[in-house]
Symmetry: C2
Subunit: 289 residues, 2 copies
């Protein structure tokens, strides 16, 4: 089974429990809408890629971790799209969760997805409880306060945003969880895997800034120009388009170089290269190449 199938199966297993007989049906539908169909599933693919590079010792645990990280990402999208934040009517080319189910159910779907992530972890962790603790610590750190994605979103409400901390928390943190959890599920030291997550997270954010600032609506499936409208820290505003493209290329190179020695090093390097190519607006990367 390839990584994509493993991820979708693991997500279906988690989301399927919310559909159980007797629960509120609109909530179950809102949860499903937040998770399926997915985007590129970049973070869980990274978790599985690192787990495989480290030997994939506990595939069920790796699958659950990958699903947990994606569920937390989907939760953050459902909440970030709400009118009190981005007020985004579309997501991944479809109506956003609140556009279909209303604000109350979009908010609750996000809450339920956060809980579901830990439920999935607990279920898979039953077979290897000692690995569960460091996995939960890596994941909670990457999501909560003071430095996870929730804190990242909260920086937008601060009078003085620290751009570096904003970027690390808002995007980098969950990428770090993706790489370190991949290593942890195979019983490896997560430390050497932090840099890969950090660089890719930052690359992803710069690519997003490029898309947000200059791409045509047809290249990106989210509304453009929102960062400028919301006065968010933004690589294009700071460095210009050419500078941001150069930064993106440097980050991808750094990410590749940070990959620790491991069994599946060459395969992982190739996968990172391919994923990185998908990140940026093609037109820009070609013109800067």
């Amino acid at each position: 089974m390839d990584a994509g199938e493993r991820i979708e199966r693991s997500l279906e297993l988690a989301v399927g429990r919310a559909d159980a007989e007797g629960g509120p049906k609109l909530l179950a539908a809102a949860i499903r809408h937040a998770v399926f169909p997915g985007g590129a599933r970049v973070r869980p693919r990274l978790t599985l890629a690192v787990a495989q590079a480290c030997g994939d010792e506990e595939p069920a645990l790796a699958d659950a971790c990958a699903a947990a990280i994606e569920l937390l990402h989907c939760a953050s999208l459902a909440h970030d799209d709400l009118p009190c934040f981005d007020d985004a009517k579309t997501r991944r080319g479809l109506p956003s969760v609140h556009a279909v189910y209303g604000v109350p159910l979009a908010l609750l779907a996000g809450d339920a997805l956060i809980v579901m992530a830990f439920e999935a972890l607990a279920r898979a962790g039953a077979g290897s409880p000692r690995r569960l603790v460091p996995l939960m610590q890596a994941i909670t750190k990457s999501v909560g306060a003071p430095s996870g994605i929730v804190a990242g979103q909260a920086w937008e409400s601060e009078p003085n945003t620290v751009p570096e901390q904003y970027r690390c928390a808002k995007t980098g943190s969950l990428f770090v969880a993706a790489t370190t959890c991949g290593a942890l599920t195979s019983g490896e030291d997560p430390g050497p895997w932090r840099a890969l997550g950090q660089r890719l997270g930052e690359a992803y954010q710069v690519a997003d800034d490029l898309l947000d600032a200059v791409a045509q609506q047809t290249e990106s499936d989210k509304p453009v120009g929102r960062d400028v409208a919301l006065a968010r820290p933004n690589a294009v505003t700071e460095l210009g388009v050419t500078g941001a493209v150069e930064r993106l290329q440097a980050l991808i190179a750094d990410a590749m170089n940070s990959i620790p020695k491991c069994r599946g090093e060459s395969e992982l390097r190739e996968l990172v290269r391919l994923q990185a190519l998908r990140l940026a607006p093609k037109r820009l990367m070609r013109s800067a190449a």
Copy 2:
């Protein structure tokens, strides 16, 4: 150290981490506002009471569980008070989280509190990882979809609410987690402790319905009459005031009778009796006695 001190210390330990240097300060303040000063801390007191009745074998784990359950309760209050749900300007006699910090930070504080609950569990679970899995399963079940407090709140968005399921999910579920987790932290079978949580949760909901429907603003610190305005299932609407008081008394008696044989049975019985007395509007209980 008494139960109240254990709970506050454990909550402070969890919340203190969100205050760490370098994080967004308004989010940290909003989180603190959602947790301190607390209400009666009914649920964590119940967790510790059951843990003690079962021998309190792992006090640090029991404290973390109690804190996790209270953090999840505080998260639900911060979210339920938002304009898209109850639009409550006050909570526990003070401005609600969004009334002070605005909707975005109140929403994010709730998200961060959910994550913080699992962070607290993971930290304490490091010493006894095998107990962590069933604790997480009990807690995630009581909070998420299809039958936890998030599902309970979601029933209010369904066209056809099932009153029994609404009540069990909205209030009963976290009380069940409180009693079963208390037993689990001491290595006891949680099954026999479910009924106590269910009865007390239902009693608490009926007491809340009584307060909501008939108490004066001075007796309750939340706005009155909201259930009727929001067309929620309500024991007073269904049974009348006298009927609801009788139901409350029957539930408390059932709760007392459900307490399993255990080392600290008599102390627990007394504690439940005292907590139950605090639940209902005193004037009504006297008139029905």
